[in-house]
Amino acid sequence: MPGPIQPIIDTINQQIPLEGFLIVAAVMFAIGAWGAVIRRNAVVVFMCVEIMINAVNLTLVAFADFLPSAAGLGASYAALIIAIAAAEVAVGLAIVLAIFRSRRTVNIDEVNSMRG
C-alpha cells in the first residue's frame, strides 16, 4: 500500500530489537529494587523481590530467543528459576507468618534483632 502511511505501517510492523526487551527488563528490575529498599511491609518486599526475579527471567528468555548460540536453553533455565522462586515465596511467607505470630507486626524496620 504505497502512500504517506507506508512508513508508519513499516514502523508498526518492524521487529523489536533485543535491546528493547533488555532495557524494559532492566527498568523493571530497578523498580523492584527500589520497592524492596523503601517499603516497610515485609509482604510487599517479597512482591518486589518477585518482580526482580521476573525481570531476570525476561532477560534470560530474550537472550535465548535472540542469540544463536543460546539454542533456546534460556527458557529451560527460566522454568527452573520459576520453581526456585515459588519455593522462596513459600519459605518467605512462612517466616513472615512466624514473625507476625511472635511480634504482631510485619514492619521490617521493627524486626531488626535476631532474638525472638
Binding site: I23, V44, V61, G72, A75, A87, A90
Partner: protein, 182 residues
C-alpha cells in the same frame, strides 16, 4: 509488533510502579499479578509459549494467591498517608534504583551482541520438555539441575511447614492433654 510491545511494556512497568507505590497492600498484590501477566505476554512474543503458560499458572495463579493469604493472615489497619508505608530511604533508594537501571540499560544497549535474530527459541513444547529433562542436544546439565530443583522444592516445602507450625500454647496444651490421658 511495536504496538504489542508498547502495550506490554507499559502494563508491566506501570503495574510494577503500582506495587511499589500503592498504599493498600491488596492493591499491591493485584498490581503484581498484572505485572506477571505482562511478562507472560512477553514470553509469548519471545517464542516461549510453554513458559508463558507456566508463568500464568504459577505466578498469576499460585504465587498471587499465596501472597494474598499472607496479607490476610497479617492484616494491618489500613494506612492513610504515604509516609507510613515507606521508610526514610525513599529518595536515596530512588537515586540508587535510577543509577542501577540507568547503568544496566546503558551496558545492555551499548554492548555488541553479535548477530541477533528473533525467533530462535524453541516454540516446540516437546523440545522444551527434552531440554528441561536434559535429554535434548547440548542440555546435559539440566539432568542434574532438574533433580537439584526437585530436592530444593521438597526441602522448601518441609521447611515452610516446620517454620509456620504453631509451636506455642496449642502444642503444649495438646501434649498436656495427652499426658493426662496416659
Amino acid at each position: 509488533m511495536t504496538i504489542v510491545f508498547g502495550f506490554l511494556a507499559g502494563m508491566m512497568l506501570i503495574s510494577a510502579l503500582g506495587v511499589v507505590l500503592s498504599r493498600n497492600v491488596v492493591h499491591s498484590a493485584l498490581f503484581m499479578s498484572g505485572s506477571f501477566f505482562a511478562v507472560a505476554g512477553f514470553f509469548v512474543m519471545l517464542s516461549a509459549p510453554a513458559l508463558a503458560a507456566f508463568q500464568l499458572l504459577i505466578y498469576v495463579g499460585a504465587v498471587t494467591v499465596v501472597i494474598l493469604f499472607g496479607i490476610m493472615f497479617t492484616q494491618q489497619p489500613q494506612v492513610r498517608s504515604f509516609s507510613t508505608i515507606v521508610n526514610k530511604q525513599v529518595w536515596a533508594g530512588l537515586a540508587v534504583a535510577l543509577g542501577v537501571g540507568g547503568f544496566l540499560s546503558y551496558i545492555l544497549a551499548t554492548e555488541d551482541w553479535g548477530a541477533t535474530e528473533a525467533g530462535q527459541g524453541t516454540r516446540d513444547v516437546a523440545a522444551f520438555g527434552e531440554y528441561l529433562l536434559g535429554v535434548g542436544p547440548g542440555s546435559e546439565i539440566f539432568a542434574m539441575l532438574f533433580q537439584l530443583v526437585a530436592i530444593l522444592l521438597f526441602v522448601a516445602v518441609i521447611a515452610a511447614i516446620v517454620i509456620s507450625r504453631r509451636k506455642d500454647t496449642d502444642v503444649e496444651s495438646a501434649s498436656d492433654v495427652r499426658e493426662v490421658g496416659e
